[in-house]
Symmetry: D2
Subunit: 150 residues, 4 copies
């Protein structure tokens, strides 16, 4: 088990599952992940941390490309890590960019997230003490999802 | 002036600007644009039609790519046509995919649209007689927009 | 017929089809299209012009998005315009960005282009007098194409 | 240290660094990673494995989206994992999709890779015994890279 998952597990033995402390800890992990950001073009660093129902944590940061469109946001990096390791049971994700303003996922990330569940909680944060929580469904109402292609 | 813009202008000389007939006509134009869809992978044809405040109409269809991620949806095709011709005053867009279900833009398109105004009206249609209208803001609440990078 | 197509037609009545003058004219049209660029983030303006075997011209410019990944390059704007108007017989495309250096299409655009033919000529330009010509196949060797999904 | 990195390290204590056995082992790891593929739309599973100069291994699989354009290929998943964990010293990547034909990265992935070095080796494989090796530069000649935006 990696250290982030262990850290949340230890917290959770003392605090209630799914509570406020868990959300704050996930923001803290996203803040640390933000340090790895590769963003030479926008200079805008973003970090994210996914928490699965099975108790695993996966982190991400934004990674930019000179030609812009291949750029992958922090949220999608965290999601792809999680899914490619075999975990599709995503419960929530914390995202934090600017220190002066709450960061919300872009539409590309919302679309990517909805593929894995519109009830996933998105913790949109500025800091450990300043954040708002929405479901993917609230951030992408009337979504175009997997069922639309059938 | 192209024939689509002329068609709407003629209608508008008789009907009230911004009214229901205008929306239905825009859906009709989107339905025609859908025929040009290049969608050999999903077999899901989508059409779109943009209407600018200055009275111009631009159409689009979805264009897919074998490697999936370069795929461009109908809405973005219509938007890029409009903007690359020098028109940024987009008032509304109609989009229509399936004949059995109302189609909504994906998150990528919503993000692309918000760049040009969160008050743009999105006419999500199944047919000329079955559609729902939302603003971009309603479809992408708490958006990550141009001001977030400053 | 739009004015760009007419301009090339007129030239072509005097000059040989597919010759150097035609390429230079296509670069000139791409340079004009570049003026419409929406690139507030990179400040890097790019223009493109597609010429079809049937003699039609379609232009494009790059259109950026605050969240970077929805950004669409000039080449893809020109291609989608062309295809969504019903023309898939693309013969060549001219692209021009910087005035101090020849511009080449990014990998996303090369992948988008190969969908419509690896023999399409790409005129990579700095100005009317400074350019290099490659086929899509030369710019994207060993491509992943439509046949790979079968 | 994760088990994949350890596996290569153990091999490398016996075999020469950078040799054929190392490449075959990387293909084997990519084949295992392929199993995690989320590809309900194309049904085309792809796996990838990155090896850094510092001896770390990161894997990826393709993860698709119903709206196609947010789809992220196996190569980009492996790259983003690696970079977001703080490793930018990528030496090589193995990619394997179909069992009947060698798989090559798409143009989007080539563009994403070039950001981190045009000398990175790309092992394009069908199986452990059938593969070809190219540099990113060979797969994306005349690339549009970081220096073009300056």
């Amino acid at each position: 088990m990696d250290s982030n998952s262990r850290q949340i597990k230890q917290h959770n033995s003392r605090i209630k599952r799914g509570g406020e402390m868990e959300d704050k800890l996930l923001i803290k992990i996203a803040l640390e992940a933000r340090e790895k950001s590769y963003s030479p073009y926008s200079k805008f660093k973003v970090g994210a941390a996914v928490y699965t129902k099975s108790g695993k944590v996966f982190t991400g940061c934004n990674i930019e490309s000179a030609s812009y469109s291949p750029t992958i946001c922090a949220e999608r990096v965290a999601f792809t890590k999680c899914i490619s390791e075999g975990y599709k049971d995503i419960e929530k994700i914390a995202v934090v960019g600017s220190d002066v303003k709450i960061s919300f996922p872009c539409g590309v990330c919302r679309q990517f997230m909805v593929e894995f569940g519109e009830d996933i909680k998105v913790i949109c944060a500025k800091s450990i003490d300043s954040y708002e929580i929405y479901t993917v469904k609230e951030l992408l109402p009337h979504s175009f999802g997997p069922e639309d292609l059938q």
